[in-house]
């Protein structure tokens, strides 16, 4: 929440109360205010201002207050000014320091004037409690900020780990393909190769029948290889199809009907881009469910060779704060930007989320 420039904080109010007590003490001493008493008053004021401007050991206040007690032996009216020191001690919860002076005031001052140090004491303690409360709140806020900062750091690490995992999965995928090609195609092709070589030797020696057998075997092996190749491609395609199916299911299983327009081939997308697109769709639909009661939800996914665009639009918004401040959208933006894409939000009668991604991951 933005804070007003003119807002009074605890420290300002504590100082304001000191000024108020100074004025009040002057008012109470008004009838007896001669030049020596004015001198004492000014010395007390000087002592308080000195502490306002410069930081001294709080023990020096004890010296000042003790000197005032000594002065009050000769100028009884000056006892009332001890209330200012009582207030100062109380506002710092220095109970041991204020007690003797407060007791001295109780012993010396007559009843109506006695209320002044008592009020000063209460006021000082109130200020001290306020300060304590404020410090606790500040500490809690600092801890929360620290937690948020750590979470953000964690998230950065996760994003990096995610990118590493993508790289790893790509390598694994390559290994998998290599393994399929080696296990299924390699043997057959090698055998076909050897059979054809043998067939060549047989033809040179004029053993035509045996050469024809070898040719038939080589053909079998080559046909077999073609079958194996088709099978391997089907195995690889099945993962991509599953991913595309999951994306479609997101829209189909959403609690509100979605008017989905899909153009282009999702299978052309890089796996990392497809995964971020999936996460973006999921986040967008979650936000629709959380922040709106829509009568219309439109989704457009356009895939071209260079870019992929996602647009999710809905109406029926709740009157809420700017959703851009939400964590989900922030994390989505980071993931999209990590791939070289961008996220835009348009909000008026409807809420429109636009995500643009490169179709191929930028390396």
């Amino acid at each position: 929440m933005p804070r007003s420039t003119y807002a009074l904080g605890c420290d300002q109010v504590t100082r304001l109360m000191t000024i108020l007590l100074l004025v009040l003490s002057l008012f109470l001493l008004y009838e007896k205010l001669d030049v020596p008493l004015m001198l004492v008053f000014l010395l007390v004021l000087f002592s308080l201002l000195l502490r306002w401007r410069f930081t001294f050991n709080p023990l020096f206040f004890l010296i000042d207050a003790t000197l005032l007690v000594v002065v009050s032996f000769f100028q009884v009216d000056a006892t009332l000014l001890l209330a200012l020191y009582i207030y100062t001690f109380a506002s710092r919860i220095q109970v041991f320091a204020l007690s003797p002076f407060f007791l001295y005031c109780l012993a010396i001052l007559p009843f109506p004037l006695l209320l002044f140090p008592a009020v000063s004491l209460l006021l000082g303690l109130t200020m001290a409690l306020w300060k304590k409360e404020r410090d606790t709140m500040r500490q809690e806020a600092d801890e929360l900020r620290l937690k948020v900062h750590r979470l953000q750091e964690e998230e950065e690490h996760l994003l990096l780990d995610y990118q590493d995992a993508q790289q790893l999965s790509r390598l694994e995928e390559r290994n998998h393909i290599a393994q399929i090609l080696h296990d299924s195609l390699g043997h057959e092709l090698t055998a076909a190769h050897l059979t054809l070589k043998a067939m060549g030797s047989l033809l040179v020696r004029g053993e035509v029948e045996k050469a024809q057998d070898s040719q038939a075997k080589a053909l079998d092996r080559l046909e077999n290889s073609l079958d194996q190749l088709k099978l391997a491609v089907r195995q690889l395609q099945s993962d991509e199809e599953a991913a595309n199916q999951r994306l479609r299911q997101l829209f189909e299983q959403f609690s509100y009907p979605v008017d989905l327009h899909l153009s282009g081939d999702l299978e052309l997308l890089d796996p990392a881009v497809r995964q971020v697109l999936y996460a973006a769709v999921k986040e967008a639909l979650t936000n629709v469910a959380k922040h709106a009661r829509p009568t219309m939800v439109k989704a457009h996914i356009a895939v071209t060779g260079a870019t992929t665009r996602l647009m999710v639009e809905n109406d029926g918004l709740y009157d809420q704060k700017n959703p851009e401040t939400g964590n989900g959208l922030r994390y989505m933006r980071r993931r999209v930007e990590a791939l070289g894409g961008s996220v835009a939000i348009q909000r008026d009668q409807t809420f429109r989320l636009l995500v643009t991604l490169p179709s191929k991951k930028e390396m």
């Binding site: 002057l26 008004y30 009838e31 205010l33 001669d34 030049v35 020596p36 004015m38 001198l39 000014l42 010395l43 004021l45 000087f46 201002l49 000195l50 306002w52 401007r53």
Partner: protein, 225 residues
Amino acid sequence: MTIFMFALQQNLKQKISLLLLLVLPLVLLFIPSMSGSLPMGFSLFGLLNLYSAFLLTRPVVEDRMQKIVVRIAASPVSHGYYLASHLLASLLLLSVQCLIFVVASFLYFGPEQTNYLVLFLLYFSYSAMVLSLSLAWNSMFRSYATSFALFSGIGSIMCLISGLSFPLSLLPQSIQTMVRVLPTYYLAHGLLMLGKQSGSGILLSAVVLWIFAGIFLLIGSKRRF
């Protein structure tokens, strides 16, 4: 050139300052006095001194308004050194004003009129107080013109009711008690004690003036940008 010399030059460049410091104190000598008391010019000098001090703090205020203070803060010159140099330059000029007035009084009224050394010390204490008061007052404003406009009104009233513009004895008793909180009262009180030749009264007035100077200095010397 040191800041002290620069401040001195800046102050002396203002023609009105020269008029207030050198000429007007001499004019005050010709104001007729009431019988049985010190000449009226002695207390009116407090009013002149107050406005002179206000004019002499102008360079400090203008430095703040023109953001020169920000540049000084970035330089190796400390704020304390800068402020002390300016205040000492102004105090020197005010002391010269006091000295001119005291010497001229000595020559005009004769040596029997009063103790001129004590009178000078009282004026010197008062000069330090009004200089600090001007500094503290100006620290509350962002424009020198507004500050001066308000000060000219409040300063005149303050001098009027604290016995500098006309004798304190002519004021009602209730006001006489009330004005004890005003710093300018202590020059009038000191002059009254000087007339009565009360050493303790004069000392008390001078001490109060110095404490007021300290208080105003604590408020006014806070660095503001």
